[in-house]
């Protein structure tokens, strides 16, 4: 360590009580800054993390929408999925249908999110217990002459927990909330074959996955359309080309890469961006003022020492660098506290926001990403350095002889 770094680091020990107080202040403002940095893109990062885990590089949706964001469907989605699946860079293209169904439990019916998939093994959900839907479930009916078996479904953990349903149980689903609304198809019994994590489930939401053919039958609708096509690729580098090909092939759809999905979702997340921008700016301003105030006042108390250093042979530039470094060191020293406090606060703030209705279980508002951590470190260190610019200017302009003279007189 050079003399400047050594002196700047030791300057923290000059007045321990004051340093502790300033570091506490900087830790709190740094914590707020970290939280705001985590919040500004936290939802996107969290969403991106979940989407990345699913392993689908492209999502094909009705144009201008996000997956499951409206009742719009891709009219011939199953055919389009088959065409996409035939591309060499595609490992799988899964047409998915989303619908609201009702689960009958005792005398009550509970709304449930239903995912219609061609068969098991699609990766649209992760089976935790039991097994997945059979691969050939799509359209597979009972063998001729055999008694009609209950079609299989996979349920989510909420449903298992809230309704006490276990693998092997039978549940009754219908497309209508009341049994005597005749417009919809009649209720139908399904046998639970597995319990799964549906990734975007809400805290108390019931979800089921079943064969598309069974879902359409319940809805009284023909097959062919899809709410969404999930595409798994073999060559991730060609994702952009594939998305462009899909959109050229069918202008009624959008083919979204994970980043494209996040960009489109981000357009609806401006509240958190703006909020974090304002509060982050304020916390930077407070840190800046605190560092400027502490370093300026501290400098005022040791003008004699600075003059001594100049007399001993430190150049103006070195003295300015020393003061800037002191600001930087203050910023750096506050980082552990800022991160510890920031993570603690963010956990509480995240819990508050996640207590709102309609927040998926796997999604977080405050996400500590490498980028957020690095951005916070850079901002804190930058603020520390900039906060010391004013006192550094004073120190560099100090007249050595006049200061030494004044110090003796004082």
């Amino acid at each position: 360590m050079g003399p400047l770094g050594f002196l700047a680091a030791r300057s923290l020990l000059r007045n321990p009580v004051r340093t502790a107080l300033v570091l506490l202040g900087l830790s709190v403002t740094g914590a707020l800054l970290l939280d705001m940095t985590m919040l500004s893109r936290g939802l996107e990062a969290s969403l991106g993390g979940v989407l990345g885990r699913l392993g689908f590089a492209v999502r094909v949706v009705p144009r201008g929408t996000l997956p499951f964001s409206s009742s719009a469907e891709i009219p011939d989605g199953e055919r389009l999925a088959a065409e996409i699946a035939a591309r060499p860079e595609v490992a799988a293209a899964v047409p998915v249908v989303a619908a609201n169904l009702y689960v009958r439990r005792g005398g009550a019916r509970f709304p449930s999110f239903a995912l219609g998939v061609p068969g098991g093994g699609t990766g649209a959900y992760a089976v935790l217990e039991g097994r997945d839907l059979p691969a050939a479930a799509a359209g597979a009916g009972p063998a001729p002459g055999s008694p009609p078996a209950d079609p299989p479904i996979v349920i989510n953990r909420n449903m298992a927990r809230l309704d006490g349903v276990r693998v092997g149980d039978v549940v009754v689903l219908s497309a209508a909330p009341e049994p005597f609304v005749v417009r919809y198809a009649a209720p139908r019994a399904f046998r639970v074959v597995g319990i799964a994590d549906f990734y975007f489930d809400l805290a108390t939401q019931r979800s089921v996955a079943l064969a598309t053919v069974d879902l359409r039958r319940l809805q009284g609708l023909p097959r062919g359309a899809a709410s969404l096509i999930l595409v798994r690729v073999t060559a991730p580098a060609r994702t952009g080309d594939l998305a462009r090909w899909i959109q050229a092939r069918d202008p009624r759809v959008d083919a979204l890469s994970i980043q494209g999905f996040l960009d489109r979702a981000a357009a609806q997340l401006t509240y958190f961006r703006q909020f974090s921008l304002i509060l982050g700016t304020i916390s930077i301003a407070v840190s800046f003022l605190l560092i400027t105030a502490i370093v300026t006042l501290s400098l005022g108390e040791r003008l004699g020492e600075i003059a001594m250093l100049r007399a001993v042979g430190f150049t103006r530039a070195r003295i300015a660098s020393l003061v800037l470094l002191e600001g930087l060191v203050l910023g750096a020293a506050s980082l552990p506290g800022a991160f510890a406090l920031g993570l603690l606060i963010s956990r509480n703030l995240d819990a508050i926001l996640r207590s709102a209705p309609s927040v998926p279980e796997n999604v977080h508002f405050f996400t500590l990403t490498t980028a957020a951590a690095l951005r916070t470190v850079a901002l804190v260190l930058g603020t520390g350095t900039l906060g010391a610019v004013y006192p550094a200017t004073i120190a560099a302009r100090l007249g050595v002889a006049a200061t030494l003279h004044a110090e003796v007189l004082s």
């Binding site: 002196l7 300057s11 042979g313 530039a317």
Partner: protein
């Protein structure tokens, strides 16, 4: 400047020294401060040479320009008129950075208020100029300890200034001033904050340092210190009396 030049009077203290022995010199040096309340003529044409291996004391009443002369000789301030030469180089011709480098390598300062850094140990305070000069850590550590031993404070090397007496602090400051083996040591009222015994210790130390070949200039009110100097310069109203 014209005012200053008008009042400049070249005054020589003693006879002409041998040029190869001169470490610092002032030639018809004038220093004028322009203050809001008017102009102050701090030095009115001082001519002086400081030689290797001599202890020169500058005495005189407060405000006569002693410290100003010391600062000019050390290159921490520049003359309004006249020439100050430090190790053969006119200080006015050097940049601020070049002057700083010259001070770092060849000039040691001792101040009345010590100006030790309170968050450093005695050894670290002594090593500081060596750190700035780029001396390797083992060497500077060895030299800092040797210097502390020389000033009789080897046993206090790990103490911070707050744990030392005034005399001890000044001895650490002297050790710091000697860190880079300066040719010129300038001391401004080094005994001003000390009791008589401690002041005498410092005077003795400065005398030893000059005997070792260093040019030592001491601004002082201490008659004992002034008395043991090889040369004494008495100042009055910015001139050498």
């Amino acid at each position: 400047m014209d005012d200053a030049q008008a009042v400049a009077q070249a005054q020589h203290a003693g006879g002409a020294p041998a040029p190869d022995r001169v470490v610092a010199s002032a030639d018809a040096v004038v220093k004028v401060y322009r203050m809001p309340g008017g102009t102050v003529h701090a030095l009115r044409g001082i001519t002086l040479a400081v030689e290797r291996g001599t202890l020169l004391s500058i005495v005189g009443p407060s405000g006569c320009g002693k410290s100003t002369l010391l600062h000019l000789l050390g290159g921490v301030d520049l003359p309004t008129a006249g020439t100050v030469t430090l190790l053969g180089q006119p200080t006015a011709s050097l940049s601020d950075a070049a002057l700083a480098r010259l001070r770092l390598r060849h000039v040691g300062f001792v101040f009345q208020r010590f100006f030790l850094l309170p968050m450093l140990t005695a050894e670290e305070n002594v090593a500081l100029p060596m750190m700035e000069a780029g001396v390797a850590q083992p060497d500077r550590r060895r030299r800092a300890r040797a210097l502390l031993e020389r000033v009789g404070l080897a046993h206090r090397s790990q103490h911070r200034p707050g744990q030392l007496s005034g005399g001890e602090m000044q001895r650490v400051a002297i050790a710091r001033a000697l860190a880079n083996r300066p040719a010129l040591l300038l001391a401004d009222e080094p005994t001003g904050e000390l009791d008589a015994a401690a002041g005498w210790e410092i005077a003795r130390l400065l005398r030893e340092i000059s005997r070792d070949g260093c040019a030592v200039v001491v601004v002082t009110h201490n008659t004992e210190l002034a008395a043991i100097a090889d040369r004494q310069v008495r100042m009055r109203d910015g001139t050498i009396a």
